[in-house]
């Protein structure tokens, strides 16, 4: 376990091996026999689950949480809770085309919504991970995903048909997520990620107008604290890949639907780190593809310059230790048989 390797790789540097960053999320609850809901509501369970899973997976870094409902809930969206999944957002306050200002929505403080639980979880978890040389990574919701939570699916029509309204919502989202970034800085997270899965679902021009400007406040907060910034996107983001590479973060992460050779070349061209992209369902959950073979293919494509081995997205609740054990076995086998090129040892 080596925190610095993860930081270096996400900053696009050469590393002695590809660091490993499992986004375990509610899978941490599974490993301590807790329901996702109970886990997410209890700081002590979060600390126990995250540290247990980090050790089990020999992680170089692990997210404190992978839950994109935190910001939405902190500004007033209702949640539906699940035993084996992250909560889903069930109400959209801006869906009647009222702006956050008209609704009187406020940028969260550390006392808003679930933040007190998360701050306490961070306080308890950080020393446990530090003792393992594992980075505690803070992940907050990205602007377009938060805008979807606030306005519902209409935001994808509004970015074309009602641009002033969409910009008002996104501006508020930018302020909300910058506050989240500051909370994670205050917790001591060395790496902070902006997770914006729905940003893959829009055209490149829309990404440039409605995503890129609204992550800048968060990036500024992270960089001002000397932290490492990453942007995580899901789905087939081929059409916005250049936008992702140039968004301003040190690195990014993508999911299993992309060709990792293409992603690697794009990341290196733009001098940023990249992470991905173990197959969540076919390999890790269902075992229809060998998790070991899948991990070896990613390691071979990614190499050891700016590459972080990671799942395609957050791990489903019940991914087993056996499946993930195959990934660890692949990492060991790869390190033994394909050590980093000598020129990386400078």
């Amino acid at each position: 376990m080596a925190k610095q390797l993860l930081i270096d790789a996400f900053r696009g540097k050469k590393t002695s091996r590809a660091p490993w960053f499992p986004y375990a999320g509610v899978n941490c609850a599974f490993h301590i026999n807790e329901k996702a809901e109970d886990f997410l509501k209890d700081p002590a369970l979060i600390a126990k689950g995250v540290s247990t899973t980090a050790k089990l997976y020999r992680a170089d870094g692990i997210p404190l949480l992978f839950d994109l409902s935190v910001e939405a809930n902190a500004v007033g969206c209702d949640l539906k809770w699940w035993a084996d999944n992250v909560p889903s957002v069930s109400t959209h306050p801006c869906s009647g085309m009222q702006t956050p200002a008209q609704l009187g929505l406020k940028v969260p403080t550390k006392e808003s919504g679930r933040w007190p639980v998360i701050m306490e979880a961070g306080r308890q978890t950080k020393p446990l991970l530090d003792a393992m040389d594992c980075a505690m990574v803070g992940l907050h919701c990205g602007p377009l995903t938060l805008a979807s939570h606030l306005a519902g699916v209409r935001i994808f029509t509004d970015i074309y048909k009602n641009k002033p309204f969409a910009h008002e919502v996104l501006k508020f989202c930018s302020e909300v997520i910058a506050a989240s970034a500051q909370f994670y800085v205050d917790m001591g997270c060395e790496i902070i990620g902006i997770v914006d899965p729905v940003a893959s679902q829009v055209k490149a021009e829309s990404f440039e107008e409605f995503v890129t400007p609204y992550v800048q406040d968060s990036i500024k907060v992270i960089h001002a604290a000397g932290g490492t910034s990453i942007y995580l996107i899901c789905g087939d983001c081929t059409k916005v890949m250049k936008n992702v590479c140039t968004i301003g973060t040190h690195g990014f992460a993508i999911d299993e639907q992309l060709n990792l050779n293409y992603v690697r070349d794009m990341a290196r061209k733009h001098g940023v780190g990249f992470g991905g992209h173990l197959k969540l369902t076919m390999a890790l959950s269902l075992g229809l593809i060998s998790p070991r073979e899948d991990a070896i293919a990613s390691l071979a494509s990614g190499g050891t310059e700016g590459f972080v081995l990671a799942p395609g997205c957050d791990l489903p609740y019940d991914v087993s230790a056996e499946s993930m054990g195959q990934v660890l076995e692949a990492m060991d086998w790869y390190a033994e048989n394909y050590p980093a090129y000598p020129e990386t040892e400078d």
Partner: protein, 130 residues
């Protein structure tokens, strides 16, 4: 107007876990009531073997994807309201339904029955209630 409804299949990772999948589902579930009466829709999560089967059967390429009448119409792109209406109208079983759909083009998404509609479409069925 035909009694046959327009079939919509949404191929997802899991609409609870994946926000992009969730909003693909919501794009259908938030269609106004008049449109709801002309469509049948279902979520196919690739976390299940049935979902993998449907993905293969429809020759899916990426997740999430909205399929209308078995065509992969919105692969990895959450549609605007009017685009959805237009694509459904193109594939309606008869001219009367197509015209009825196009007459609802200006109505816009409605959110009052989203949760109820999502449940009917099987959203979250691969997830346990807390």
């Amino acid at each position: 107007m035909s009694d046959r409804k327009i079939q919509i299949d949404v191929l997802t990772l899991d609409s609870v876990q994946c926000a992009a999948c969730g909003y693909m589902m919501e794009a259908i579930a938030a269609l106004p009531e008049d449109v709801q009466q002309m469509i049948d829709y279902k979520e196919w999560s690739i976390k299940t073997k049935a979902g993998i089967g449907k993905f293969t059967e429809l020759k899916g390429k990426v997740l999430p994807t909205i399929c209308i009448e078995r065509d992969l119409v919105f692969p990895s792109r959450i549609p605007q309201y009017e685009e959805l209406i237009d694509e459904m109208a193109k594939r309606a079983p008869d001219k009367a339904m197509s015209e009825r759909l196009l007459s609802l083009r200006d109505k816009g998404f409605q959110f009052d029955k989203v949760q109820e509609n999502l449940q009917k479409a099987g959203a979250g069925l691969s997830t346990r209630q807390s």
